[in-house]
């Protein structure tokens, strides 16, 4: 992901977007095309609305509300005494990991990028919220590319193409169904996680 965003540059090989080398794109063009939701969410000092509209400061209140609803953030924001005007970030109201993550997802949805990177984007939310967010994100795939990195495999099962990295090496590649049929690493992890969920009465 760092190579795609050009936080680092490749020392060998190339990263291409639609056959264009990312090194041939300006940073503003590249970063205007990509949004990322990571496990570590940066919340800056400002209101909830300002944090969500970070990539689109001119967004209307209605657009902010809609993005928050899609991200499953609207309910907890409404229940804060100052709602979307609540000051968060350093010396503001403290948010839980899951709340921060949902604000980050709303921020990405509002940015409406061509490429959306989800790096363990729903790792801090409960399973029920994750399912609802996942359904929203699935709809957002239309007309854009989503790169999703997750240990919780339930978030990946609808992906067109899955890549399994084991100890830094690409070991398996294919659809959910084909990887299950291969009965390799993906199958074993899926089995473990499904059993764990079943033990918790969630499957």
């Amino acid at each position: 992901m760092n190579l795609l965003l050009r936080l680092y540059d490749t020392t060998g090989g190339n990263v291409l977007i639609d056959d264009v080398n990312v090194k041939d794109l300006s940073f503003s063009s590249l970063h205007g095309t990509i949004a990322m939701v990571s496990q570590e969410t940066y919340i800056f000092m400002g209101t909830v609305a300002e944090n969500i509209a970070y990539a689109r400061p001119n967004a209307t209140h209605e657009e902010i509300l809609r993005a928050s609803m899609q991200a499953g953030a609207h309910d907890f924001i409404c229940k804060m005494p100052d709602g979307y005007d609540t000051v968060i970030g350093s010396s503001g109201r403290e948010l839980s990991g899951g709340e921060k993550q949902r604000i980050s997802i709303a921020r990405a949805i509002l940015a409406d990028p061509k490429i959306l990177i989800l790096d363990e984007a729903t790792a801090s939310v409960d399973t029920e919220t994750e399912l609802a967010i996942q359904a929203s994100l699935d709809r957002l795939t239309r007309g854009r590319t989503i790169l999703s990195i997750a240990h919780r495999l339930s978030t990946l099962r609808n992906a067109n193409r899955l890549v399994v990295l084991d100890d830094g090496r690409l070991t398996e590649e294919g659809s959910h169904r084909s990887l299950i049929e291969q009965k390799g690493t993906y199958y074993k992890l899926m089995q473990l996680q499904t059993k764990a969920l079943a033990m918790r009465g969630l499957e």
């Binding site: 609305a49 209140h61 209605e62 509300l65 809609r66 609803m69 899609q70 499953g72 609207h74 309910d75 924001i77 409404c78 229940k79 005494p81 100052d82 709602g83 979307y84 005007d85 000051v87 010396s91 503001g92 109201r93 403290e94 399912l131 609802a132 996942q134 359904a135 929203s136 699935d138 709809r139 099962r157 959910h176 169904r177 299950i180 899926m190 089995q191 499904t194 059993k195 079943a198």
Partner: protein, 184 residues
Amino acid sequence: MDWNNIEEIDEEQLLKESEELQTIRYLTKDNASFTPTPGGFLSLDYQDKHYDRVFIYRTFPDSEPERFLSVREADEKAKEIGLIEDLKQFEPEQMQMIREQLDMRYYTPVIQKVLEVKDEYGYAYFQVETNYGRCRFAVQMGGSNVLHMGGWRYQITDLDGNRYILEDLSKLSASEQKKLDLYL
């Protein structure tokens, strides 16, 4: 365990939840009607459904106090029924009822004079005059109980969660400002 069923997620349910998440349902004067209850709250009739009691939240209490009001069921979950895009679109009588509910929910005294502030064992004890009269409250120091809202505006939250607004610190006398120095 039947691995053939692994893909059988309830897509219909997910889609429904997703639709619910994405759809903004607006309450208008044509599809919603509020009625006062004997207990001083509001009931709602919306799209052929009656709600005995509803809560009304401001989504943007400071920047849009009368727009995008969230109407919610009056139980623990407080599920959203819909949004009022602009209160001014409602008839004057309905508008008044809703404003009264908002005044109750967002009751926030404005501090006009600081009489005394003492601190002891990590708590600050305020004695102030507000637009609702004189009052005393205690605030736990540290954390986000005293919030700078920009400019000279501050919000103080006491131990019980009651909030007080200091609209303009610069308009207080020098001695009052000095009393607050340590806490803001």
